[in-house]
């Protein structure tokens, strides 16, 4: 049993100088795997607890009357209609501004631009913008859209809010557009050029139709970020209590998450419960948008 040759193992594999100690190492392996699953379990347990908590608190008050009533000082009569209308208005306006801007910028960067300083500047800039906290966009909106452009935007209005949020989600839409365009095979473009089409003609007739599902997916994910955004809108001065419907882009407004924030911030337990009802509505809107995005994505993946 004296280890003449340290590499060679004996029958048991234990006595030689090459001590693999496999049992212990495999034990650590097992512990490690369990820990990674515990991590996943914790994340999912928190998500489940959150949903359970919101549902138990909020379902009692969540009914048609809640959706169709205006906010009230009495919790049993309070509803979320003005916030829901505000969110729908905001979503529409943000889509109107951010979609063409983001898709256009994505097309430029992916299809038209050459690798020059302007393109690199924009790319670095988009990466940086993604790291800027949303409340900073709120400060920008407060100064530029409320204070300087106040006569056009109507001050603390829907228009101000949607312009601010559009700037906020622009990087998301640009990045998604670029990824979708990149997924279109180059052979399609080359075939178009070979037939004498200009870059724009190729993009319009062949690249965009192939990429549109991916672009829409990214745009919807960006918009679902817009639906949940609160801090930037509070900063530009969206109201927390209004009992009328927005009449146009220059009207003051509130949105679902701000209404929820307002209710959570009150001391009474009853308001906390209707805050949970508001959260249920918010989550329904979000989940609907995300499922549409996922359906589009699956369709998109099958095609290319």
């Amino acid at each position: 049993m004296t280890p003449q040759n340290p590499i060679s193992l004996d029958a048991q594999g234990r006595e030689s100088r090459f001590d693999a100690n496999l049992d212990r190492r495999y034990l650590f392996d097992k512990i490690f795997v369990s820990l990674t699953w515990v991590a996943i379990a914790i994340a999912i347990a928190v998500l489940a607890a959150l949903l359970f908590d919101v549902l138990t608190d909020g379902l009692a008050m969540f009914d048609w009357q809640f959706i169709t009533s205006f906010p009230s000082r009495k919790p049993e009569r309070a509803g979320i209609l003005s916030a829901l209308a505000g969110s729908v208005w905001l979503l529409g306006l943000v889509a109107l501004f951010a979609f063409p801007l983001g898709v256009g910028a994505g097309i430029y960067l992916e299809e038209f631009s050459t690798d020059n300083w302007f393109t690199r500047l924009i790319e670095i800039n988009i990466n940086n913008l993604a790291g800027v906290p949303s409340i900073i966009y709120g400060l920008l909106g407060l100064q530029v859209f409320v204070r300087w452009l106040g006569p056009i935007t109507g001050g603390r209005s829907l228009l101000t809010g949607s312009l601010t949020i559009s700037l906020l989600i622009l990087p998301i839409i640009i990045v998604a557009t670029r990824e979708a365009l990149r997924a279109v095979p180059d052979s399609i473009r080359l075939a178009g050029y070979a037939l004498g089409a200009t870059r724009w003609q190729v993009v319009r007739t062949h690249v965009l139709p192939n990429a549109i599902a991916g672009i829409l997916t990214g745009a919807i994910l960006g918009l679902s970020r817009a639906i949940g955004e609160t801090a930037a809108l509070i900063t530009i001065g969206a109201l927390t209590f209004i009992s009328f419907l927005p009449e146009g882009p220059q009207s003051p407004f509130t949105v679902l998450p701000i209404q929820v924030f307002n209710w959570v911030g009150r001391p009474q337990k009853e308001f906390h419960d209707i805050a949970a009802s508001g959260i249920i509505l918010l989550m329904i809107v979000l989940l609907t948008m995300n499922s549409v995005a996922i359906i589009l994505r699956n369709k998109f993946q099958r095609r290319i």
């Binding site: 919101v54 913008l129 906290p133 409340i135 530029v144 200009t198 949940g228 998450p257 929820v260 924030f261």
Partner: protein, 312 residues
């Protein structure tokens, strides 16, 4: 071979390329989309300029020395004090707790999803993480204030209704998906040959992950963690709702504190006329916030450049 006479009247009628119109429309579209791309640059310039102008106006009224050395934050009182470190300490506290939660959790989730989970389990778990990532921050604030805090109060006697601990813990859960999904991308990018080499030398899967895969993915993981930290620092609604509105210097997680973002919200909720000191104050705080997150981004950029392993 039969040849086609291209100059015959019939063929040239069929083939009428309007090259001029094509070129003009191409130029117009290129210009317009370039302009759209430039909007993002304008946004950055706008952010920097507004922050700089209002911050300069702020420092005309409050000395930068007081801003950095005062130990109280009472800008709305008559005897105003502007110790920014009061707010920074609260932000550091909540995001510190958050990253202590999110880093181990997110990294373990990333390892599990990329190395251990079956494709089937992955296809169920990833959408769940995406749902977690998509929950609006005001919902996490509700959860922290009305679920986590009462729960923790059963175990920690001195815990107050508003506290940095539950805000930080929930913030950590909130940024876990960011750490997890970006780290997973980084781990996924490690080439198979490296792992196979490790297995061939007799390493177990855990040993391969810990000593080969993670070091190879280090730059990506670090940038994921830094992005998560900067998200936690800029996060607003969770800390405003759950951590409270009491400016307090120190790192005690059991009492109410006020983060930089919570202060901006507090002022914004009131009626703040443009040009007033309170209005300028939120821009000075915003500038501080912006500089901190920018510093983190630059550091992450540098780190990735410096330590990225290139394969292929």
């Amino acid at each position: 071979m039969p040849s086609v006479d291209l100059s015959s009247p019939k063929v040239s009628e069929m083939w009428k390329p309007n090259r001029r119109a094509s070129r003009i429309s191409q130029t117009i579209v290129k210009f317009i989309t370039g302009l759209f791309a430039f909007v993002s640059v304008m946004t950055t310039i706008g952010i920097i300029l507004t922050l700089i102008f209002e911050t300069i106006a702020f420092f005309e009224e409050v000395s930068i020395f007081h801003f950095l050395t005062d130990t109280k934050w009472t800008p709305l009182f008559s005897s105003a004090q502007f110790g920014i470190f009061v707010l920074i300490s609260a932000t550091v506290l909540t995001s510190g707790i958050a990253i202590l939660v999110a880093m181990p959790l997110g990294l373990m989730i990333a390892i599990c999803l990329s190395e251990y989970a079956s494709p089937r389990a992955r296809s169920i778990l990833k959408p769940m993480l995406e749902v977690l990532a998509g929950v609006p921050s005001v919902v996490f604030g509700y959860f922290a204030l009305l679920f986590v805090t009462p729960l923790l109060q059963k175990f920690i006697p001195g815990l107050q209704g508003f506290n940095a601990l539950s805000a930080g813990l929930v913030l950590g859960i909130m940024i876990t998906p960011i750490v997890a999904s970006l780290s997973e991308d980084a781990i996924f990018a490690v080439p198979r040959s490296l792992k196979d080499g490790s297995y061939a030398l007799g390493a177990t899967k855990r040993e391969t992950i810990l000593s080969i895969v993670l070091p190879a993915a280090l730059s990506g993981i670090v940038s994921a963690v830094i992005l998560a930290i900067s998200r936690a620092i800029g996060e607003t609604m969770t800390v405003t709702l759950a951590a409270g509105q009491n400016p307090r210097l120190g790192l005690n997680p059991l009492v109410p504190v006020m983060t930089m973002t919570a202060f901006i919200v507090q002022v914004s909720l009131g009626d703040t006329p443009a040009g007033s000191l309170a209005y300028k104050t939120i821009y000075a705080v915003g500038m501080t916030l912006f500089l901190i997150t920018l510093g983190l981004n630059v550091f992450s950029f540098w780190f990735v450049r410096r330590f990225r392993e290139k394969y292929e």
